[in-house]
Symmetry: C2
Subunit: 410 residues, 2 copies
Amino acid sequence: MTTAEFVHVTYLAHGKPGTDWLKKANGIAVGLTVGSWTDLPAARKGAMQKHLGHVADVKELGTTANGLEKALLTIAYPTINFTPDIPALLTSVFGKLSMDGMIRLVDIELPPQFASRFPGPKFGIEGLRETLNAYDRPLLMSIFKSVIGYDTETLAEHFYQQALGGVDLVKDDEIFFDETYAPFEKRIAACRAAAERAQQETGKFTLYAANLTGPVTEIFEKARRAVDAGASALLLNVLTFGYDVLQRLAEDPRINVPIMAHPALAGALYPSEQYGVAANVLLGQLMRIAGADIGLYPSAYGSVALERGETLKIAQALTEPRGDLKRAIPVPSAGIHPGLVPYLYRDLGNDQIINAGGGVHGHPGGSAAGGRAFVAAIDAVVGGKTLSEAAETSQELKTALELWGNPSEK
Amino acid sequence: MTTAEFVHVTYLAHGKPGTDWLKKANGIAVGLTVGSWTDLPAARKGAMQKHLGHVADVKELGTTANGLEKALLTIAYPTINFTPDIPALLTSVFGKLSMDGMIRLVDIELPPQFASRFPGPKFGIEGLRETLNAYDRPLLMSIFKSVIGYDTETLAEHFYQQALGGVDLVKDDEIFFDETYAPFEKRIAACRAAAERAQQETGKFTLYAANLTGPVTEIFEKARRAVDAGASALLLNVLTFGYDVLQRLAEDPRINVPIMAHPALAGALYPSEQYGVAANVLLGQLMRIAGADIGLYPSAYGSVALERGETLKIAQALTEPRGDLKRAIPVPSAGIHPGLVPYLYRDLGNDQIINAGGGVHGHPGGSAAGGRAFVAAIDAVVGGKTLSEAAETSQELKTALELWGNPSEK
């Protein structure tokens, strides 16, 4: 038998002045587990005790500018009430509750035994580095500039140009759904061939994260066929397909490639102060336990900005030590150009993927030159040089800094 | 060949004073379809034209109390960019965009041909009424008071008590995940037997919406086994499992029972004014096209209140004429007692399910009496009588009104 374990869930709640927060927290702990405790017959309480949630902590945070009180409520839920999957967790701890006033889910801590029933990343940072034979530096990814309406051959050529620039990974655009002109397996095979062609020139193999789409009834078989067709990575829109799709892909030993989790739709959940789910839970904690090897999220520096503290909490959730759970690699994204690399490196060091779309393709010298500008910027920060110094020996970086700026040396 | 069709998506956007809303809207229309238009070679534009989104409408709404401007932006997206499923739709029209500033998804209109590729409800209101042989009145549902920790026999007895009260449907608690004590098919068979036993007394068959859970890799087979075991309805936590699970259940002809869509987690998405997805999209439009026969959402009157106008928009989305798409039945839920039936009836008339948990089980005469009090209240409103009048011939209703109040006659 296992000993009693609890999932600790923390909520940020807002309420009227004078709210009895302990009572509110107790109501959640009982209401979301056994439903009602005082109404239970005494004879029944013994059997139900092990299912009962309890209040682990209540921290009052004072009054907001608009006269509301706020508090952090931490509830301990017995793990025996759940199956080890995200739909069970989220439905139980924030299903009905999400609709009950000003309440926001800000942290989920799984205890060790329960956590061990989730797959976590199959590769993790170490596995990904082995696959790429790339150590002691941030990895580099570029994104297909545009994919809708292009055929397989054109996309493979785009891939080749990106690979020539020295990027470690290329990801599909996450809105690539209609595969009429570029069927999934054919595209994967063509990009694999392009990767091998580029490798002959650069000595470096570039992974292709192909966007996995289609009915959930077919998606697992499709993923296995992708692997057979030479897939080197898979991209999944986790929030629109459901975390459980990620989890079952991660659990499938036949799907032996890294899985990249896209944050699409996350902005519908995380930005409010009073409602929703914090970004570190959505894009950090849950993505990692469900099995993402690579976790994308908005960076603090680019065009889709998230507050820096929030981005660091996501990265922490993806990488902090958690028993046997492998570490997922953080990918702060959107609007990244070479001049921002020093900020990203200061925040996360080597264990991240520098990811760019326009910052690669918008380079006046083309996508390959755009990739080389990033490689030079990464080499610079890892080697303790400034970008200006590195630009003396990299015309591509020099051009990029002139175009997009070099804010860290301003 | 089909003619060009567009999905029209409307966003509520907030921005700084002086925002160029048409430019913003154009950026969305191009950015979320072909990526970039001005950068495209002229030779390429011909082929890409059919993939290009365009601005259908911009409506400036003036300035908010905190000095922001707001506007409604409607974008037309070519349907050929999508596959007919909700992950494709949501990822494309609100994936990245959800993370890009103060923007909220408030409406999605599918054109007829594209809509016809979604299943919609298999039964709809008419099919559900035929199944229940219940016409010309609101339907009545009760919810298992508590399920965690109970065994099959106890739950079947609870079901029997509820069925005796004359309810049309009984739903599982949506947090019922651990099936150790009450395995899914065994529970379904036992509740079916209880329904048949009650029918011998009441002449009325009561449906049981069993909570469908488990890995998405197994959930479809599990649903089919449920049908074989005598399931009369299924409950799904659509937002945590993903809309596509609902769609594929609805498309499967072997799953020939009504599907009830639970709104769990919706409150993480709809309450903010500036972010997220409006409740009528989440719980109305998308649930219906994906195949929900029965759509739950917070009522305007109970314990988990949603603003009345919002609830009416959800009900409208579930029921308004839409080509061949069947109508789903609205279920305004949470904190409903018999005294609230006149309000619900005024809002929606016959085509709704009156749904109660505590308002049934908390009746001093027990769950069966609680059900009968609701039946009397429904008979009253349909027959044009006041609840007070009806209470003269229904002791159960009289007791309920004394306990919970009769606000519509105050």
